[in-house]
Symmetry: C2
Subunit: 366 residues, 2 copies
């Protein structure tokens, strides 16, 4: 199957949004989302890059001098292979719009702009230290080779999302492989950032330049784009301008039912296994609660194997309906820090970081 | 009743920790905690101040010139009267220590270092603007007239806890009355700060000076004291030094059972009303869940009247035990942002900001 704009092969089990696609979780997905089932989101068309001539430039006031790396240079460092979940900041935006009666601008994602892959690359810390990192470095910004982003005639340049230096030195990867294969074009060939627990906008694809700065970076991509109302501002009613905003960062706690979709039918008096996933920004999921009565009472679900704080945590719950009729199922997760999910969606203008307790409406056959 | 060190009258229903006292919630407390039932925490002895000669000095690079206010000057501004909860940062510290098998240094609070009072004063924003606030102000620090704090021979000076300018201009009060009476000596006579949703260390008592600064304040009180491991650092095991720390700020979400204490006995097959309180840092409590089976299943409690986001939210749940024997009751709250409470306590060296789901062990009589 070929897509209309790019010649990237992709499998079935997707919902299409123009040239973005989201994973349909009700078509069973293995623990590692296969490359041809992994959601795709691009600001602009992915560039054609010859990996032989590709180079990564590391520069800025936070390093001593400029250093350039070929793909072979990066591979010569000690590499790591890790499982990391990736979520689009706007995952669930369509549902935000539906619940508010007004669509939010942007890709109209359902809940499928998420996946977990096994990434291989070199720690960004290794590269930065090789490039002679200075003590006064405070942020790392990266840009890719995709085209600048133009919106309503204004050229915002390339996505440039500053990472705090502490995160950059912690567990960020400069990755060239995804699930054991070279990065597909739509996933950042030849090299992308992997930023555990941070939303997709930080995971710069087609990586070209890393700039280490010794003062806080401003500009459109940090000062204007990808921001949400600050904590208390999130409580303002829809349509009200928030007083101040903060940049998006780590994943909110979320959980989904993947075994059943809206309008699924269940047999009466027979046990059904309800399944799903939960994840957070890296503290680790400690509990998943399931409600079959629209949230009036909750039962603790069985957690699957702990595959690391930046992966999905699978959960199951055996459920036997004892009366015919409609049921409202809900699921909510809590992490080790006590962060959980709100009962009502938190409004924000761009429809970001949705993590409301989601509902699936099923029917028990008579 | 007189206390041993100060001649402040206090009522019964307290647990004493030297010259600090905490409220016993199992002795019924009205919605507004009376002044003589309100917990007391002082770093050093409260100073004797003559309100007639008392003055507040507002100065620093963030205002134009120095301005001095008498109590009459402050009262001449338009005042506000608001209900605001106050919690000590270390509330529950004794339980931290018990669960870890090693006491944390500091006052060995149970869960009674909390209360809600009706405060009257002038908005700090009014005072700062009167004192000619400059656009480049970034923080406001305040000090009181109590003695400097000396620890192991080191004089750390007076408590000085910088507030971000946005908070200072939002809803902070310079208060002279508590529940309709002049501030008691132990609660900051003649004037204290009221900092809604922020832990008690920000609520400077016996207010003397406000300094508005145009660069971030450092020093012991912001750089060393009253800090906790940062979010991810909170996941390190007890005894491990965290990589970095952040200053304490807003209240964590918490909830307590106040109707029953450990070892309470319930009649079999008779309905008992379980009662308690919940609160958070200002987003508003949206849900309280109660478990009678140690957290395997949860029921939604009935929320009491919404008295504002910075007050307590009362909750009730009718419960009828149907079998004799011991029960583990648990309560957890969630706020509008989806913030909730962890199932295991989050370790930090000073025993601050505890908000684990608390347990009360009751017995059902045969």
């Amino acid at each position: 199957m070929l897509r209309d704009r790019f010649d990237q092969p992709i499998g079935d089990g997707f919902v299409h949004h123009g040239t973005d696609v989201e994973t349909q979780w009700q078509e069973p997905v293995p623990y590692l989302t296969p490359n041809d089932r992994f959601f795709v989101r691009n600001h602009t068309a992915p560039p054609r890059i010859d990996a032989r001539s590709w180079r990564l430039l590391v520069s800025g006031d936070g390093v001593i001098g400029d250093t350039t790396y070929s793909l072979a240079d990066l591979r010569a460092f000690t590499s790591r292979t890790v499982d990391r979940a990736l979520e689009c900041t706007g995952n669930g935006r369509r549902l935000f719009g539906e619940q508010q009666g007004a669509p939010r601008p942007g890709t109209q994602w359902g809940l499928g702009a998420i996946g977990v892959a096994r990434w291989t690359g070199v720690p960004l810390a290794t590269v930065l230290r090789h490039a002679a990192l200075r003590d006064d470095a405070v942020q790392v910004t990266a840009v890719g080779l995709d085209d600048p982003y133009v919106e309503e005639g204004v050229n915002h340049g390339r996505v440039r999302r500053p990472l705090p230096i502490a995160k950059a030195l912690d567990d960020v990867l400069v990755a060239w492989a995804m699930n054991g294969e070279p990065l597909p074009l739509d996933h950042g060939y030849p090299v992308r950032l992997v930023v555990p627990g941070f939303y997709g906008t930080y995971w710069v694809k087609h990586l070209s330049e890393i700039t280490v700065v010794d003062e806080l970076f401003a500009g459109f991509w940090m000062g204007t784009a990808y921001r949400i109302p600050d904590t208390m501002g999130a409580c303002v009613p829809p349509g009200t301008a928030p007083k101040s905003t903060v940049p998006i960062g780590r994943f909110n706690v979320r959980s989904f039912i993947t075994s059943h979709a809206d309008a699924a039918t269940l047999p009466l008096n027979r046990e059904t296994l309800v399944r799903g996933i939960a994840f957070d920004g890296g503290a680790g999921i400690t509990e998943v609660l399931f409600s079959a009565d629209g949230g009036r009472s909750w039962r603790t679900a069985q957690l699957g194997k702990d595959l690391g704080n930046y992966s999905f945590r699978e959960w199951t719950l055996p459920f036997t309906p004892t009366a015919a009729g409609p049921l409202e199922w809900k699921v909510r997760a809590t992490n080790r820090l006590g962060e959980s999910q709100p009962l009502e969606p938190l409004w924000n203008p761009p429809g970001y970081m949705r993590n409301v307790v989601e509902t699936v409406k099923v029917n028990v056959a008579a």
